[in-house]
């Protein structure tokens, strides 16, 4: 069994000869392997996706599907999380990684606007705070709304084009859209420190604002999957784990909203892929309330995935978690040993997809990436 069908079997928790393989965010690694810079990834999306396809061939494929079809859309990254980004080629040298600025974009008084208008209309009003529209483009589009619409069309067309390239090669793309959890989005928009203070000092208002964001975030995920024709949405959750907040806060500000989003996506035939950075060990028991065999929990190497298997076995498909440090600075033998343990322990009985912890590091060693993939493939019967 190969391709997306194998991944679907993993999600539905059926037993299988070897786990699926789906390393995430391969664009940066592929680009650097091809001699492109981080600025090139943002400015030359066609060259980035071509570099990804060349890497696919060079590795003898890198899995059972491609996670995202193409490179990174920096405008959408900024708008989705309401955050300012330092951009290579603009604010940083061309070979520097883009980086999110941890500064408050919204203030406490802005929560009322979110409650009143919902996430999308609120986001739209915030665009000028997070993204400098070049004057000549502003002149050409006339309004922020027209500029935003054009960016949206450009982004979706690029994704469709890249997806089609993969399909011509006989490769499916797995993720059709991505949305942040409301807590993640507001934590980025407020900055971690200010958001944390809000949790303690104005919980009722914050809870109202978080719930107000849910309907649009769900609709954005559904609309994104429809537009790309790919029924899987990545839900970005990096700032709500039990490493950050006690469970009583998780129970109020993250879990109920996440559960609602997941249920809506599943009702629409969409697979939610939870991108779970940081340590979620304390939160894992709650995940048993998600629909069985419909959700992927992607761990980044911080959560103990072996314990996660014990807790979520027979309920949620786990994905991960070859650590970035291992892929960049480890030896091939260490990678092989770790992947074998993942396949044999976390893959036992099914419900596991081999992936990278968080994302493929741009400066991972080629030999380590190849070893990661080939070791898992060697279990195929």
């Amino acid at each position: 069994m190969k391709g997306i069908e194998r991944l679907r079997v993993c999600v539905s928790l059926e037993e299988i000869d070897r786990p699926g393989i789906l390393p995430s965010y391969m664009d940066r690694f592929a680009a650097l392997q091809a001699g492109l810079t981080f600025a090139d990834i943002l400015e030359r999306p066609d060259e980035t996706s071509a570099a990804m396809r060349r890497l696919w061939d060079r590795l003898g494929d890198w899995g059972d599907s491609v996670y995202y079809a193409g490179g990174t859309d920096i405008y959408y990254l900024a708008i989705k999380h309401l955050t300012r980004i330092r951009v290579p080629g603009k604010h940083l040298p061309r070979d520097s990684y883009w980086q999110i600025l941890e500064t408050p974009i919204i203030q406490r008084e802005d929560y009322d606007l979110l409650i009143q208008k919902g996430w999308n209309a609120f986001t739209f009003e915030m665009i000028p705070r997070v993204w400098e529209i070049p004057p000549e483009e502003m002149k050409s589009y006339g309004t922020v709304e027209a500029y935003h619409k054009a960016q949206a069309e450009k982004s979706i067309n690029q994704y469709r084009k890249d997806t089609e390239f993969w399909r011509q090669m006989g490769v499916d793309v797995f993720v059709g859209a991505s949305v942040p959890s409301p807590q993640m989005a507001l934590s980025c928009a407020r900055s971690l420190t200010e958001y944390t203070l809000d949790l303690y000092e104005m919980p009722d208002k914050l809870e109202e604002a978080i719930w107000a964001a849910v309907p649009d975030l769900v609709q954005n995920g559904i609309a994104g999957c429809k537009a790309t024709g790919i029924p899987c949405v990545a839900i970005i959750l990096e700032r709500g784990s039990g490493a950050y907040y006690p469970l009583h806060l998780f129970e109020r500000f993250e879990f109920p909203q996440l559960k609602r989003m997941i249920e809506e996506f599943v009702t629409h035939g969409i697979t939610p892929l939870l991108h779970l950075d940081t340590d979620w060990s304390k939160n894992l028991p709650y995940f048993k309330e998600f629909p069985r065999g419909k959700v992927i929990a992607s761990l980044d190497g911080t959560t103990n995935i072996f314990n996660a298997k014990k807790i979520l076995k027979d309920h949620v498909c786990l994905m991960g978690d070859v650590p970035a440090s291992l892929l960049v600075a480890g030896t091939t033998k260490e990678v092989e040993t770790y992947v074998k343990r993942l396949v044999e322990e976390v893959g036992e009985g099914g419900g596991f997809i081999l992936g990278t912890g968080c994302s493929m590091p741009p400066n991972a060693q080629f030999e380590n990436v190849k070893m990661m993939i080939d070791t898992c493939k060697s279990y195929a019967e």
Partner: protein
């Protein structure tokens, strides 16, 4: 009845700390003893974090409170510094070249200051030479480098190599931290310790300056 410093810290009453400190100063309480009292409360919070009773949220809020304490009281100490309080060690701290993330670095810096270290915070995107220059200027016992992306590994390694070339490495302990670090990164960089946890990082640094302390992964 007015709150005590212990009640303010342990209750995470961040809005109360400034007023309370001003009251105490007006009453003639020695600023140094106030800082010491706050440090003791920070140590209790650190212990609660280590026991799993507190989370990163409580560390963030208490660190913010301690920042207020230092900002408010440092100028009132004789000579504008914490004279009379001998630091338990010095840490030259920074986010290495190529990275501008500083949440982890700042949190570690405040917790380490609360634990009695003197912090020389160089900021973000710091080239290796600047770390080395700071070590030369401020004979320090520890260099701390924090980064969130793997792209900073070479810069961290270059810093350690430069310390070696300058003949400083043997006198200096190096700790790295941040979301993308791990044991393999520690080995590659040539650091003495690595952590993902600011509070654990402080514990390791305390071991560096006092090896008789147990625990940590140094």
């Amino acid at each position: 009845m007015a709150l005590t410093i212990a009640e303010v810290f342990q209750g995470l009453k961040i809005r109360e700390i400034e007023g309370l400190l001003c009251e105490r100063i007006d009453e003639g309480v020695d600023p140094y003893s106030l800082i010491k009292e706050c440090q003791e409360e920070m140590a209790k919070i650190g212990k609660k974090f280590e026991r799993g009773e507190y989370f990163l949220a409580e560390l963030i809020i208490s660190a913010k409170m301690f920042e207020t304490v230092v900002t408010l009281l440092s100028p009132k100490l004789k000579g504008g510094s914490r004279e009379g309080q001998r630091p338990i060690g010095k840490i030259v701290l920074g986010t290495p070249r190529g990275d501008i993330h500083d949440i982890g670095k700042n949190l570690f810096g405040v917790l380490a200051a609360a634990a009695g270290f003197e912090i020389i915070d160089l900021g973000i995107d710091i080239p290796p030479q600047k770390f080395v220059d700071a070590v030369k200027k401020e004979p320090s016992s520890i260099v701390g480098m924090s980064g969130l992306i793997t792209m900073v590994y070479p810069s961290m390694k270059e810093t350690v190599d430069l310390l070696q070339e300058e003949g400083l490495r043997k006198k200096i302990k190096v700790i790295i931290g941040g979301g993308a670090t791990g044991e393999e990164a520690r080995r590659y960089v040539g650091a003495d310790a690595q952590t993902l946890d600011a509070a654990e990082g402080v514990r390791i640094c305390k071991q560096f300056v006092n090896p008789s302390l147990s625990g940590g992964n140094a």
